[in-house]
């Protein structure tokens, strides 16, 4: 007698895009060795970059790429939240407003006039905000772009009902583990490695340059020490401030550290 195994229904996964470059979604399609297995472990129900098939919600896992930058997005994210049981913010745009948050430090109307001959045709918000600033988020994956294996780890953890195993230490420790020469100490290059969330594998120091913070702030980082030690290394005015005000600029720790670095530079200039 053969028994028909009673298989649990595969969790339904939806992937959404807000204001973004599509790079984090592409990181999913770049899982060349894992994609087909992943597609058999979960039911990819909504993922417009990959398929025109849209299965109706609600969904078990919602993966959201991008930040909220338009009035329409601010409404749409509420509908998305309502149809997802578990929501993941994918990448630094979704987690901290991303590169679009550079508008938060300037007049966005000026930008509109700079770029578009008819700014009156446009609809946009003054600030780029993270998903969590708009609706509750269950888990954030930092990175610009995300490390694709961290996404696989999160989905595997959810399927196995355990906590995802994320790198606990900053870029600085990943750098030490790789046995790289410290770009700040050895070459005097400003580097955010000591205060930035690990996960990239210390890519920038490995390429002979300072970390520019695309994985966001590490949880136990000492930002005032970083500003005090890196700003004097600036090779052009406001180099450290520029690193802090790039891809994770709207994360609170980066925001205040960038202000402190700018202040320190202007004091130095006055002397």
């Amino acid at each position: 007698m053969t028994l028909t195994p009673k298989t649990a229904p595969r969790p339904k996964v939806a992937v959404y895009k807000f204001s973004s470059c599509d790079g984090c979604q592409l990181s999913l399609l770049n899982l060349e060795d894992e994609l087909l297995d992943l597609a058999s472990a979960v039911d990819i129900s909504y993922f417009l970059e990959a398929t025109r098939t849209v299965k109706p919600g609600p969904y078990d896992i919602g993966i959201v790429e991008g930040s909220i930058t338009t009035p329409h997005e601010a409404e749409r994210i509420k509908d998305v939240r309502a149809e997802c049981k578990y929501m993941i913010a994918l990448g630094t745009c979704a987690t901290a407003g991303g590169i679009q948050a550079l508008r938060n430090f300037a007049s966005v109307a000026d930008y509109a006039r700079t770029v578009y001959p008819h700014p009156e045709f446009l609809h946009f918000l003054d600030k780029s905000t993270s998903i969590a600033e708009n609706v509750p988020v269950d888990l954030s994956i930092w990175g610009c772009p995300v490390n694709k294996f961290m996404v696989v780890e999160v989905i595997a953890a959810l399927l196995q009902n355990r906590r995802p195993n994320f790198p606990p230490s900053p870029v600085c420790l990943e750098c030490k583990r790789r046995g790289l020469v410290c770009v700040a100490v050895a070459h005097g290059t400003p580097c955010l490695g000591p205060v930035v969330h690990g996960g990239c594998g210390a890519l920038c120091p490995a390429n002979g340059r300072g970390c520019y913070g695309c994985f966001g702030p590490s949880s136990a980082a000492n930002f005032s020490a970083l500003v005090g030690s890196m700003t004097p290394l600036d090779r052009y005015p406001n180099e450290t401030a520029g690193l802090l005000r790039s891809f994770s600029s709207h994360a609170p720790a980066f925001k205040s550290a960038a202000e402190a670095a700018l202040k320190l530079s202007s004091e130095k200039e006055q002397k």
Binding site: C21, G23, S27, A50, T114, Y116, F121, L122, P237
Partner: protein, 428 residues
Amino acid sequence: MKNIEVPALARVEGEGGLYIGVKDGKAVEIRLDIYEPPRFFEGFLVDRFIQEVPDITARICGICPVAYQMSSVTALEAALGIEVGPEVNALRRLMYCGEFIESHALHIYMLQAPDLLGVPSALDLAAVAPEVVKNALRMKKIGNEILKAIGGRSVHPVNACVGGWYRWPDTAPLKALLPELEWALEAAKETVKWSLSLPYPNLEIDYEFVAIHHPEEYGVMHGEVWSSKGSKLSVNEYETRYIEAHVKHSNALHSHTSDGGHYLVGPLARLNLNHEQLLPEAQKALRESKVKLPLTNPYKSLIARAVELVHFYEEAIALVKSYNPAGPAHLDLKLRTGEGCGMSEAPRGLLYHRYKIDKNGRIKFARIVPPTAQNLPRIEEDLFAIAPQLVKMEHETATLTAEHLVRSYDPCISCATHFLNLKIEDKK
């Protein structure tokens, strides 16, 4: 005739919608609505230091970050009046090969082929033809591996800078890619043969093709802007003929030529203008395909991409074999006030940048003309050309047909927002 509506276009990078207005059974209005939000990159760049630019412009597009980095660095090097050496350039071409391979393999097999084979996605294709999809993923992966070996990661690589590279990539990981590249070159030749067997819809358009042309190499970063209408311009003269305008229904700017015409950039334009510069294996694949040039069917840009895949694997093999870096990886920058233009061929078409910088190396002005902004008016015109057929079709068939046409341009809507929703409305 009932309304046709597609709430969001699938399998394009970015988001947009399509509206077709119908009166007395005839299409009277066509509009591609871009609802990808405006992204203000040219504004963000003002007052940034030149060396921050390639990292910021990469974020315009996760699918073609290398194109943005390369157009940026070449424009900024022109502004500084410096020229990088042949070794730096060779590695830039190799990184570009990686992006073409990754992007073309993705588009051919995962974005456009499902339309031709009548399945919703490559994942559904995997259920009926698993070997095809597995090979496609393997072909795509090797492109990403090149990017990773040179730039640390495939999306937003970190090694490119104004003046060259932060460091020379290690030789061993690059040379280790050769066996996979040799496999992929053969797989790409098979892809060309397979691409000829697909059921393309009939549509011939009298295009003006525009691409970078270089007499000695397949135009990617260096050369002149050539048009099939005979115009040959230096990069500095680009804006005298190719003009961006802002149209109300779109967050993307639309380009036209100075005489008001619409033009096409991308694989069809490149192949038609530059086939003589293809490397020998790609020439042979093209010759054996018996495809007559110029190719003027937009759906058949898949064939052009397949031929280009052969070329870029072939070029990548040669560049990896000859990679033997010596000397400094980058030039020392002497800052000065200046203005410079740069261009390169993103997988989906010509990408133009112009910057003005001050004596401290700060950006004072930036202009970025992405490929999709140039192709958008052309896509609208092509949709107009098929509208009489669309309005006679069942809604689902019409939607699929229109979507397929748009997808065949590989529009990168994220790039152009500065994208689709098909709505056919009866204007009674």
